[in-house]
């Protein structure tokens, strides 16, 4: 797999233009008085949060070749860390997000050690078990003083600073956007540099990478840590925007939805992470209407649940578009340029 996009000219211009559009979207709120606008803003926040979580997972799976089905655990650790810091230690939200990232880096780094010995299916298996065990762990009574046990933790949405004429939801959208931009920028540069090349070398052939003098163990655990930190910060953002964390929202299903986002957007593609994040939220929000449409179109007797749609889509993508939507777009562009060159 060539990583041509990172070295292409004008990629920076495209990216800047894209982010400017994303930044301009909440301003519609000043001219539109649609009552559902706040809801759209919340959807936008969720999309960015999922995009960050998928980014973390993509760094690990797409660029380092370590399969994780347990990233819901790091998302949960990030969400709980932020919530506990904000509620019990009165840490401001802007500090809680990076702190949650640091906590998750530690957790991911530690989990990365046993993961070193595991490959492919076995790593998937160990992380799968982690994802299933986490909700139970979060509910345990020995930590219920902080985590609130089954009830979870309620927190307050931060108020926008008084010098900005923004509503709470507009403000939170910008918080998510700034964190997302910062993390995408960091990962973009990480991947273009020495560390990124080392990560990809390990993915493509671990033994050859080791022979070339790359400390594979160090890079693999570090990647696990960074990946967990990024996903953990997404968790912190979700705690802040939803203003509530509960153990049962961090199930295996959450991990699977990250995986869906990853596969839909495209494995080892940074723009794909944003596509994937948006896709997860769109399907979750419109699963009822998709189900209604399918019931009409195929005269089904039952509601079609979102998970059946996710699952079917995963299968279809693996068969027909293994590089995801971003890969599909790139393939179409390559085809077009070849056609135009011939004429």
């Amino acid at each position: 797999m060539a990583r041509s996009w990172a070295t292409k000219p004008h990629i920076g211009l495209w990216a800047i233009g894209f982010w400017v559009v994303l930044a301009a979207l909440p301003l519609i709120g000043f001219v539109s008085d649609s009552p559902s606008f706040d809801y759209y803003l919340f959807m936008g926040q969720s999309m960015l949060i999922y995009a960050i979580a998928v980014l973390g997972l993509n760094l690990l799976i797409g660029f380092n070749g370590q399969i994780s089905l347990g990233h819901s655990a790091f998302f949960a650790v990030g969400a709980y860390a932020a919530a506990i810091l904000m509620v019990h230690a009165s840490v401001p939200y802007w500090l809680a997000i990076p702190l949650a990232g640091i906590v998750c880096f530690g957790a991911g780094f530690l989990f990365g050690f046993p993961a070193l010995k595991l490959e492919g299916h076995y790593l998937a298996l160990a992380t799968f078990t982690l994802a299933i065990a986490v909700p139970q762990l979060l509910k345990h009574k020995s930590i219920a003083g902080w985590t609130g046990g089954v009830g979870g933790v309620l927190l307050d949405k931060p108020d926008p600073p008084s010098f900005l004429p923004l509503s709470v939801d507009q403000f939170l959208y910008y918080v998510c956007l700034i964190v997302a931009m910062a993390l995408f920028w960091i990962v973009f540069n990480l991947l273009r540099g020495r560390s990124g090349r080392a990560m990809m070398a390990i993915r493509d052939h671990a033994m050859a990478a080791g022979t070339m003098g790359i400390d594979t163990a160090l890079y693999k655990t570090m990647t696990f840590g960074v990946s967990a930190a990024i996903t953990g910060m997404a968790g912190a953002l979700s705690a802040i925007t939803v203003a509530y964390v509960a153990p049962d929202s961090f199930t295996l299903q959450l991990s699977i939805s990250f995986l869906v986002g990853l596969v839909v957007g495209g494995i080892a593609s940074l723009p794909g992470c944003l596509i994937g994040g948006a896709f997860i939220v769109l399907v979750q929000n419109s699963s009822q209407s998709i189900s209604d449409w399918m019931k009409d179109a195929f005269s089904l007797r039952y509601d079609v649940p979102a998970w059946a749609i996710y699952g079917t889509l995963l299968l279809l993508l693996m068969f027909f578009l293994p590089n995801g939507l971003a890969g599909g777009i790139a393939a179409i562009r390559g085809l077009l340029s070849r056609v135009t060159q011939k004429t």
């Binding site: 492919g120 299916h121 076995y122 298996l125 078990t129 039952y302 998970w307």
Partner: protein
């Protein structure tokens, strides 16, 4: 002491079910080197089919047999249609496929039969067997079914041509192909068997935990743990591992960590075995040439 023995017996009963799940996983692992994350949901789906049949008035053992047949052909079908084209695909694509199957089975079961829990009948009476409150007929029945199944499988793999062909295909695909074994179909047969064994596990566990689309998630994890403890490439080891995990889980759960952390115990076991003894207790260490 009586409590301790009760815990062991209950552990053996659970262990029998974990052993079935583990056996299904080993069946697929041995023939294709894949770990089937959808094993639990396939079993759950088959159990729902059995429930629907029994609900419609079919006698229990008829429904039991029919469900195993349907599960067998279902597994065969999944391997032929979905996994065969991906035989040479990277691991990630396969893991994604298994996760997709897991989601689809879970969602469809919920769609057809709803997520409310249902009672599943047990063919064995729950009465006390020896009058001292230690072993119930239900528990003995579960263990007996597992052991009978294990015996049949052993006979199948030792003494039938088909069983031998399957083992040959799993051990050395290219040599087996030269000997005229249709290797690809042997893999499909492995899937069918795994699916059938899974269905048995589902029907045995459903009376204990009640039937709902999410019933197998935890059990699958214990099945994984059992398969790993015994050695994931060794059917007999997997069964022993399942029993070991069942007993340990119950003892540790009631004396050391309490019931809330049982799943975390499974996590610790999975990671512990993978780290300390990846081949399992009864497995062979595989040396790879590079």
């Amino acid at each position: 002491m009586e409590f301790f023995i009760q815990q062991i017996v209950a552990g053996l009963t659970n262990g029998a079910i974990y052993a079935c799940v583990a056996l299904g996983l080993v069946m697929i692992y041995v023939s294709t080197d894949h770990i089937n994350f959808a094993q639990g949901e396939m079993a759950m789906f088959a159990t729902f089919l059995a429930w629907a049949m029994i609900d419609a008035g079919v006698p229990y053992w008829v429904a039991f047999g029919l469900t195993i047949m349907v599960a067998f052909f279902g597994g065969l079908f999944i391997q032929r249609v979905i996994l065969k084209p991906l035989e040479n695909a990277p691991v990630l694509a396969l893991v994604v496929c298994f996760i997709a199957l897991l989601s689809i089975f879970n969602a469809i079961a919920g769609m057809i039969w709803s997520f409310t829990i249902k009672q599943f009948p047990s063919p064995f009476p729950s009465r006390d067997l020896f009058g001292n409150g230690l072993v119930s007929a239900q528990q003995l029945g579960v263990v007996a079914v597992t052991l009978v199944m294990l015996g049949l499988l052993t006979v199948f793999f030792r003494y039938t041509t088909l069983g031998l062909a399957m083992r040959a295909a799993a051990q050395n695909a290219s040599s087996a192909r030269l000997m005229g074994v249709r290797v690809s179909w042997m893999l499909a047969l492995g899937w069918g068997l795994a699916s059938g064994i899974g269905a048995i596990a589902g029907m045995l566990v459903a009376p204990i935990v009640f039937l709902d689309p999410n019933m197998m998630a935890g059990i699958l994890v214990y099945g994984f743990a059992g398969a790993l403890v015994g050695g994931i490439a060794n059917p007999l080891g997997a069964v022993a591992g399942g029993f070991i995990v069942g007993v340990l889980e119950n003892i540790v759960g009631s004396y050391v960590i309490g019931n809330e952390l049982k799943l975390s115990f499974a996590l610790v076991m999975v990671i512990g075995v993978l780290l300390l003894k990846p081949a399992g207790l009864f497995g062979r260490v595989i040396v790879r040439r590079v």
